[in-house]
């Protein structure tokens, strides 16, 4: 820059300044245009986002491994300290679970016999895709995870994401090699649920806090702290009966539900394909709502 001659410098400088200002303005307009386009052409934007994410998946996959390894070591050391207490607890739990197992066997055979009597149509076959959590959206206003499984592994938009403990969220975007899971606590998350004991229907709405809220309850509904919440299967997007959480507080500000799954510590999750095609991916196919209705109408 310095070796250039002075007159050139004198002419070039203002032009350069103007160009910079226009470039800046253009970029601001570009950002606005992208936001508008995101509202107008959702499908295109999802494709763009999927491709951007896909391109970085290999890097994030590698980076998330050492972090997971360190977290595992820390957890193992912690577990070592509580070994004795944990052992006693597990023995007690084991006795209790053996009791439940006996009961479940009895109910299972009874259920089988009754289904035979009623000519009951069972739910569709369930299949899983397991994915590793490779990113954890760092932000105050979005609650989501990135998985290293995408469309080529069979993940579809709208599918339920679970662990052994309960529902984690739903698939919001799918790329070829990656997918984004919208957590229950995200502002955009709305899950149709039922209160397990009373079968009261409601919607679990994320509110950017740890505990999402129950909304759209019927006026006469009675909900108390400790009630279990499960998915209702309404709308045909989710299967009925997936455990979601327990009611942790009932008050003026609403009914808060603490999810069973703590999303911060997840390493592997299951994306579950129940064969339901409900409201989310396509409303064009006539067959899809019919299948969803069957699950919902039980």
């Amino acid at each position: 820059m310095k070796e250039r001659s002075r007159p050139f410098h004198r002419v070039a400088q203002p032009i350069k300044g103007a160009a910079h200002r226009f470039a800046y303005l253009g970029l601001v307009i570009g950002a606005f245009a992208l936001m508008m386009l995101g509202k107008a052409d959702v499908v295109l934007m999802e494709k763009v986002r999927g491709q951007l994410t896909d391109s970085l998946v290999p890097i994030m996959d590698v980076l998330s491994r050492p972090a997971a390894a360190v977290a595992n070591i820390v957890r193992q050391v912690e577990e070592l300290a509580h070994l004795h207490g944990e052992n006693t607890r597990l023995q007690e739990e084991n006795t209790r679970l053996l009791h439940w197992q006996a009961m479940a066997r009895k109910l299972d055979s009874e259920n089988g016999a009754l289904r035979g009597l009623l000519n009951f149509i069972p739910d569709d076959e369930i299949s899983f895709v397991s994915g590793r959590v490779i990113a954890d959206s760092g932000g105050a206003f979005v609650r989501s995870l990135l998985l290293n499984a995408g469309a080529r592994d069979g993940v579809r938009k709208g599918q339920a994401v679970t662990t052994g403990e309960g529902l984690v969220g739903r698939v919001a975007d799918v790329g070829a090699r990656s997918s984004r899971v919208l957590l229950l606590s995200d502002l955009n998350s709305r899950i149709p649920v039922v209160v397990e004991s009373t079968r009261t229907r409601a919607v679990l709405a994320g509110n950017n806090r740890k505990a999402p809220q129950l909304i759209h309850l019927p006026p006469s509904a009675e909900v108390s702290v400790g009630d279990r919440i499960a998915t209702s299967g309404h709308g045909g997007a989710f299967p009925p009966g997936l455990p979601v959480g327990v009611v942790s507080s009932v008050g003026e500000s609403g009914i808060a539900v603490t999810p069973f799954v703590e999303p911060d510590a997840l390493e592997y999750v299951r994306v579950v394909d129940f064969g339901l095609r409900g409201i989310l991916p396509s409303t064009k196919g006539l067959r899809a709502p019919a299948r969803g209705d069957r699950a919902a109408g039980r």
């Binding site: 970029l27 936001m35 502002l187």
Partner: protein
């Protein structure tokens, strides 16, 4: 001739590092650390880097780079594309217009500047999300995120200054 070509390539590669490092920070901010509650308050690493380079080496952090960084952040975090691109561009413009004031000042002043810029960015983000949802969103985790960012800024700034002296020193 060959030497000058290599020399120029070398300079080019070094000059790309502020942009490259900021992109790395975008990804680093998303690594699942599996600490309970941490992802809600994860610091605004890319903003710190943009602030730093805009003050110390603005020619290496052009507006287009800021735009791309914001776009990457949007795509990976899951916000509507363009939101962070816009927010970062606004922050960039504010810092650039006040740059003369910051140059040569002591670190506490730079830190205070970051506190103001990050606060403004937090409020704009909160406002945009609230507008999209037509509701006043709970901003508490945003506030804690802001505090964590303020606390980490000196550390990151120290690292970036170290990088600047080691890699970008000759020009």
């Amino acid at each position: 001739m060959k030497r000058t070509l290599w020399f120029r390539l070398d300079v080019f590669a070094r000059q790309m590092t502020p942009f490259g490092l900021t992109l790395v920070l975008v990804i680093a901010g998303l690594i699942p650390l599996r600490l309970p509650g941490f992802s809600d308050i994860a610091p605004m690493l890319p903003l710190m880097a943009i602030y730093h380079w805009t003050i110390y080496r603005p020619e290496l952090m052009p507006a287009a780079a800021v735009f791309v960084i914001g776009l990457m952040e949007d795509a990976l975090v899951g916000l509507p594309l363009g939101v962070n691109a816009l927010v970062f561009l606004i922050a960039y413009w504010v810092v650039l217009s006040q740059r003369q004031f910051f140059v040569g000042k002591s670190f506490p002043i730079i830190w205070l500047g970051f506190a103001l810029v990050a606060g403004g960015v937090g409020i704009i983000q909160w406002g945009m999300v609230s507008t999209v949802h037509m509701d006043l969103i709970d901003g508490r985790s945003g506030f804690f995120q802001y505090l964590v960012s303020l606390g980490l800024f000196p550390l990151l700034s120290r690292l970036l200054i170290g990088w600047q002296q080691a890699i970008l020193r000759q020009d």
